[in-house]
Each structure stands twice: as C-alpha cells, then as structure tokens.
Amino acid sequence: MKKHILSRLKRFTKISAALAATMFLWTPALLQANEDQSYQGLRDWINNSRPGTQSAVPGQHFSEKDRESILEALIPQAAWKYYFFDDMDMEIAATRQYGVPDDWGKKMSRDYKLDESGTLIDFTGGGFPFKEINADDPYAGQKVIWNMLWRPGSNDYDMPMVTWLRSEDGKLDRVMEYTSTNATYARGDHSLVPGYEDVKSKQIMEFRSPRDMAGAKDMSIRYVDHHRENSGWLYMPAQRKPRRTLASERTGELMGMDMIREDSMGFGGKIFENNWTYLGKRKVLATINVKTNPEFGGPSQWVPHKARWEVRDTHVVLVKPKSDDHPYSARIIFVDAETYWTHWMFAFDKKDDQLLRMNQHFLKYSDDYDKEPPQQASYIKQDFSKSVGHHVFLHLGQVDINAKKPHATMTHCFTNKKEFTAARAKQFYSLRSMISGRR
C-alpha cells in the first residue's frame, strides 16, 4: 500500500512538474499576446479584428469578463494592457449623431486647396474643409487631420484643468492646476478681430499650482498659413518679463508630463513634416460624451473607470515623421468620422517600434451640459449654462501614457464655452498681457 502511494506520489510530482514547465514556457507567450504593444500588433488589430455579432448594447456595463467576447474588438490593442483590469466598469451608451453649430459650413471661403505636401492653403475656417473622405484619395489621411484641426469647438472656451502625474504603482508624483483660454480668430468669411485675418487662433495658458510654477503663463498664436510657424511667449514670475519661445520644438516632454506638444489632440504638429497614410475606418469605443469628468481606475489609477462609452466610427490615420531625429517611427490616430475629434492616439518608438506614448480623450457635448454638467474645478466656480446651445464638443480631459517609463498623466478639464468680443479678444490675447502676471 505504502509502495502504491509512493508510486502515485511520484507520478503526481512528474505530471505537476511537466505541467509547471509547460505553463512556464507558454505563459510569457500568452502574456505577450495579451500585452502586445507593437506597431505591427496594432496594424494587425486594425486590419483583422472586427466587432462580432455580439456587440455593445446601450445600457450594458462591461467588465473584464467581456474582454474577449466584445471589448478586444473595440479597444485598440496597444491599450489593452491599461484599459482591462479586474474591477473595470464601462457603461455603454447608444451611438448618437451630434449636431454642429447653426452656421457651420455656411460662411466658409471656397477658394482653398491642398498643396502637394497635403498642406491646406487659403482655408479660413467656418466649417470642415473636406466634407467627404474617400479611402482611395491619396490625401485622405491629411484631409482627416485637417478636419480635426478645424473642427467645431476646438477653441473658444475657458478651460480650468487639473493634471495628475502617476507612476505605475499608482504613486501620485505631482498635481498641477492651470487654465487655458482660447479663441478662434479665423471664422470663415471674417476674423474675430478685424485686421487679424492671418491668425487662426490664440491661446493663453496660466499655471496656478504648484507654487514653483504658479503664475507661469504661455501665449501662443497659430496662423491660418500652416507653413508659418506658430508664435509663442512665456512669462515666468521669477523673471517678471515675457520670453519668446521656440514653437517649432514639439518633441520634448512638457513639464514632466507624459506628452509632447505634437501629441496635442492626437496630432499637433505640421502636416508637411510627415508622411500620411489613410488606414480606413474602424469602430472603437470612445468616451465621446461622458456624464462628467471620469474617475480613474486600474491598478495604476491611469484610465477612465465607470465612464460612459460609445461605439464610434473612426478614420484611422497613419503618420510617419520625415525627420530621422523624431522619437516616433509612426503614430496612429483614431479620429471620429462624424465629429472629427480624436479619440485615441498611439505613437511608436523609433528604436523598436514598440508603444512609446498614447493618449485617449474624454469629451462632452455642450448641449448636454444642462442635464449632466461636468464637475466644477476645486478652485473656480463656472456657470456651465453658458455652454448650452453651442452644439459643439468640449474637452473634459485625457489620459497620456508613456509606456516605456512607464508613467501616466491624467487630466480633467472643466471646460466652459466662452465667446470673446473683438475688443476684449484684442486686449486679452495681446503681448501686453504677457508683460505681467500673478506676480
């Protein structure tokens, strides 16, 4: 009996060892498949993975158990590592069609064109420059991005913000508070401020905390002529004077945040500095009309949790920088096919084609502000009713992840629509505003 038990024990040990060895050999491969963050992995996902018949139904709440059956086909693969976690909760809303401002597309100049680099010439806003995107068009990628850059709601707001910088273990490294105020000058057949027809938009951003940055203020001007470089000034309280900045440097991380200036809304650079490929349309989940600024969850507290998502059709655009010195080998952007707001952006490291940075955006339709207002910033109370009726999306925040560090920057924007008069805009967005600050 004793011998029999010993023999069974030996057999059990052998089988266990064999199983363990098998598991040991297979586990990295399984993990790798799940956490594939390569450029090729995302390209394959775009080409091959499609939502099945069992798709997202409005009102459903998805958790980790719905990952394989539904979510993997709707969340870009490079993001799986962060967006799928044990107690995840995604609420699904019906896919809506959203209206545009009443005069959108009615006051546009018609005399504009693309040059051979795909740069838009003589366009002055007031509507989308390209109503249709044709997949066969060699300039389809650029056209999607032009529509994104001239989308309604991209400017004309007060945007108090809070940004959290977190390590992979969830440790909060830094919190920043700042406010961006922004105005569209180019409005189709006229400029907000007569005489400034060359200006596309102006923005002033001022830091409020932490104290080592409080009062730092940045003004930037974008021009209608895309070939003309943006202008920028920085006021530092310690210097008590403005300093001209170099706007063409867009590839260094900003103030410890996990983004570069060129990552702004997926692409904030110059069209002619890149090669473009249109990769077709793809359905993705997007936080396009969140109830309010979402809380963050996941093991690192990096990603939206208990947020409301919508299945959206997106144009997928591949961007490859022409410069050999650029940190990215490629950038893939998912831009909403109806609203032209960016939902997802993935940028790959030139060294190994693995994910380097990504961002994902939270939006809210302005006309829903009366039913479901965003949160109030802790440091300013705003009258959100001002936003209702504008028929635009407002940016409520984003997640920026640097996969290589790894580290993330999460931002809540408490955006409220703001319309400047010509006189007030002229006064506010002026070099005069930059010669003094909080102190």
């Binding site: 919190v175 409020r208 300093r243 001209r244 590839t251």
Partner: protein, 532 residues
C-alpha cells in the same frame, strides 16, 4: 520677556504659513475672491575654502516666509459683486509680504559685532492695484518693473534697485529687486500699419528713489570690501613717506525725493514687426550705483588727514532698444538683442589725476556708457544625456563700453592693506588703495543649461557658467532641485569662482579672488522649501 515674545511671534509667523498651506493642496482660497500662496524656505549657506569643501563655515541659516495674495474686488464690471463699475472691466489688489530670520546671527559669535544688521526683515515688499479698462490698464503701488531681454545683467532692467546685501546678485532678481512706489500705465494699441501687438507703457515714480543696497561691514559674508583685508577699515593715509591718521566725513547726497523735479519716469513702446518683437525704451531716473565726490581733503594742524566726501546718485538717461526673434528653420533658436546708451554713470577718478581728467577736482565724474547684449536661447536635444526632454540652453554675450573714456577712471574695488612705511609694516594702521582701473570695453559671456530627469521630471539640474574673456575670471553654479512633493522642494547647489590666468579682478565679480581666503565665496547651499 520681550525677547521671548519676539521669538514666539517669529514662530507664529513661520508656522501660520505652514498651517494655512496644510489645509489646502495648492493656493489657499478664502471665499471666491481672495487667493493666498507663498512659501517657507530654510536656506543654509556654507562657505568653502579655496579648495572645494575645505574648511567649511556656515554663513547663513536664512529662514524666509513669504505670503502672496490677490484680491479680485472687481470682476466683469462689478465692484464687490454688487455695484456697477462703469467702464472698468477688472480690478485686483496684490500684495507680497516677506519675513526673514537668519539664525546664523544667533549661532555665530563672530556676528555679534554686526548688531543684528541683516538678521531679520519684515516687509510688505509689493502692494499694488491693477485696473483694467480696455484698452488701458493701470498698476498703482509698490511694484517691480522689468524691461529688456538681458538676464542677470543691468542694461534696461534698471528701474528697480537691487538689494545685494545678503547674497550679492546670486539670488533670483525677483527676490532682490527693491520694489518702488510707482504708477505703470499701458495703452494697448494693437495693429498700426505693419506693426502688430503694439502697446505704449508709461511709468512714473513720483517720490521713491532708492540706491542699490550693498553691505560693507565685516563680517557680513557678502560685504563689499574689495580684495584686501576684509576685517580692517582704512584708518591712515600715506603721503610721501609719512603716515597720517585718516578721518572721513560722509555727506549723504542722495536726491531729495520730495522735490517734484526729482521725479523718475520713462516709457516703452513695444510691438512686433515681421515676426520680430521689438521695443524702444527711455528712462529718466537716478543712478542706483552711488558715486563719491570728494568735497575737501587735506592735513589739519595736528597732522591728521581729513576728508569730506559726498555720496551722489546722478541723474541718468537710459535710451534702449530690444528685439527678439524665433528662427525656427535653420538654427531653431530664439535670438535676443538689447542695446542701451546711458548717460550719468558715476565713476571715480584716480588720485593724482591731471586737471584735464579731474576738472572739478573732486575725483568724480559721470560717463556715458553703451551696452550691447546678444543672446541665444535654444531647446536642445542631447539624447545621450536625456532622451525624454530637451536641455534649455541660454547664452549671452554682454559688451559694455565707456563712450567718453579716460585712463583715470576707477571702479569700486578699494583694497585695505597694512600701512607700510620705508619697507616696514606699521601695526594697527591700514591704508586704502584703488587699483581697479576701468577698461573702456568690458565683456562677459554667460551660459546656462537646464533640463529635468525622472519619470515626472522632478529632478531639475541647472548649470551656469559666466566668463570674462579679458580678466579670465569665471564663475560656475551647479544646482540640483528635487520636487519631493507638491509642497516640499529640496535643492543643493555649489558656487565656484575661478580664473584661467592673471590677477585682474575685472568688473563683473568673477574670478578666483572671490574664492580665496578672506573673501571665500565658493559656497555650498542647501535649501528646503515648503510651498503652498
């Protein structure tokens, strides 16, 4: 009892700022209209010997509490959220108060002779009202106004004097400028012909003149005492081979602020032309560098040498232009330019100068001086040192020239030396010698580089280098700042003075003489800041 009360007051001041900040995680809001922020900083300076870290000696244990506030009393045309303010759009009241206590004065017995001068400071440094009434804005009150493109050298940035008493000019100038009571009005003009973003700024300082503050009393660590003996004052004059006792009477000749004719003011017209920021500036003020006129000098019947000198701050007229341009295509740099011509700069005339060089016989003159500064700022990738973020590199070339120069011009370095008669040192007798001959052309080159490290960019190194190509004197600062949390910031820095060759002091406060025994300004600094 009184002493205890003062100690308690100090503790309350420093602790209240800390406690107030603990209640919030950033600026403290009181209601919707009042914001408070500030910091408490412990600043420890150890001066080193001629070689780094050798023979360290604590010179400062300076604790600063700064409270800054802004009160928004008029918003969107409504005063106190109640009354219509007519054409005024916005108005705020800003104040900035500072309390300083340097514990080194209580730790070091050798500082007892200073009678607590420099030990404490309790001041409302800035207090002003901003009024916006488009297209005009007005700032009234005690404030700082900074003009120009130059960093840390004086050309157009001459409106506020500097307090150089406790750490020379090595601190952020925001903290050492002496705010003045003035009115600053701006008319935002906008586009005129081919000029964009233009505005006209006028400043008026009706009755607040202050000279640069400089400490002179030993053993204040940054006392301005030339390169000779630091712990002795001149008490003798050597005429021929005879040593005479020296008696100096000083008359304060600073301008009478109450006189209407002593008002200071100026204007700046700024705008953009073809992507070039430019400004034209003019300032009519008083020299903040104090000159000395010899009123009388001679031997009395008892053989003592008596001299009466008057400190003067002559009228200056500063005319300047600035420009900055962002060149994005070829150099990817921002170029900065500043040029000034200043009349009324005080200079000393060497003793024994001929009549043509010293026509008034008072060993004093005023000169015209020009400055040209060319600077370049560039965010620069150095992937081997930082693959995530650029280095911000800033360099300046600063050229100062005396336009009506004469060979007898002397600077401000007076050396105190033991009196030597016929080759023998006379005990307890010291003479003063000025061998600081001013060069007609003076140059200095500066370079700084900064970046940040760590996943969240919390480690912030800074490297600074300044070099005078004529005297070959140099200065380096190496600093590392660590943003430990949203409230706590730590910094360590090292200041080093050195030279390539020779012994010329040069005009900029650079060179190894500042690191040598006696002066010893090679410093190691540790700072802990609690900010809110």
């Amino acid at each position: 009892m009184l002493m205890y009360r003062r100690q308690i007051t100090k503790i309350i001041i420093f602790m209240s700022a800390t406690l107030a900040s603990a209640l919030s995680w950033s600026i403290v809001n009181i209601g919707e209209d009042l914001e408070l922020e500030g910091y408490v900083k412990a600043y420890n300076i150890i001066k080193n010997g001629a070689s780094l870290f050798h023979d360290g000696e604590l010179t400062h244990q300076r604790n600063t509490a700064q409270l800054e506030g802004k009160y928004y009393f008029l918003r969107d045309g409504e005063l106190f959220n109640r009354f219509s303010a007519g054409p005024i759009d916005e108005a705020t009241f800003t104040f900035l108060g500072r309390a300083v206590y340097d514990a080194a004065y209580d730790i070091r017995d050798s500082y007892d002779v200073l009678n607590d001068r420099g030990k404490e400071e309790y001041k409302i440094r800035e207090a002003f009202v901003d009024i916006v009434m488009a297209p005009f804005s007005l700032r009234l009150g005690r404030q700082q106004v900074v003009w120009g493109e130059t960093d840390n050298f004086r050309a157009l940035d001459v409106i506020n004097p500097l307090d150089r008493t406790w750490h020379g000019t090595r601190e952020s100038w925001e903290d050492i400028r002496i705010p003045l009571w003035m009115a600053r009005g701006i008319w935002d003009i906008g586009k005129i012909a081919t000029f964009d973003e233009t505005f006209l700024e006028i400043i008026l300082i009706p009755d607040d003149f202050q000279a640069n503050k400089v400490a002179t009393k030993y053993p204040r660590p940054w006392a301005f005492r030339g390169i000779g003996l630091q712990d002795e004052d001149a008490n003798s004059v050597l005429i021929g081979n005879t040593l005479h006792d020296l008696n100096v009477t000083v008359i304060d000749g600073a301008p009478d602020e109450r006189k209407f004719s002593n008002m200071q003011g100026g204007f700046r017209f700024k705008g953009i032309w073809n992507d070039i920021d430019f400004s034209i500036n003019y300032f009519h003020g008083f020299s903040q560098t104090t000159g000395v006129k010899v009123r009388s000098a001679g031997l009395d019947n008892l053989g003592a040498f008596n001299t009466v000198v008057e400190t003067v701050n002559p009228r200056i007229n500063v005319f300047g232009v600035t420009a900055s341009f962002s060149e994005d295509r070829y150099t990817q740099s921002v170029f900065r330019l500043e040029s000034t011509i200043t009349s009324g700069v005080p200079v000393a005339i060497a003793p024994g100068a001929p009549h043509r060089a010293n026509p008034n016989g008072n060993s004093f003159d005023t000169a015209r001086q020009s400055v040209v500064m060319v600077g370049v700022d560039r965010p620069t990738w150095i992937p081997a040192l930082n693959s995530l973020r650029t280095f911000f590199i800033s360099t300046q070339f600063f050229w100062r020239r005396y336009l009506d120069y004469n060979n007898y011009y002397r600077g401000s370095f007076y050396d105190v030396r033991p009196a030597v008669v016929n080759g023998s040192t006379v005990p307890d007798h010291f003479v003063s010698v000025n061998e600081d001959k001013i060069d007609q052309d003076e140059f200095v080159i500066t370079f700084s580089a900064s970046t940040s490290y760590g996943a969240a960019g919390l480690w912030k190194p800074l490297f600074v280098f300044a070099y005078d190509p004529r005297s070959t004197g140099a200065y380096n600062k190496i600093k590392m700042e660590y943003l430990y949390s949203k409230h706590l910031v730590f910094a360590a820095e090292q200041h080093l003075y050195w030279r390539v060759s020779g012994s010329d002091q040069g005009p900029w406060g650079l060179g190894s003489y500042l690191g040598e025994s006696g002066i010893r300004r090679n410093e190691t600094v540790f700072t802990a800041t609690y900010q809110f």
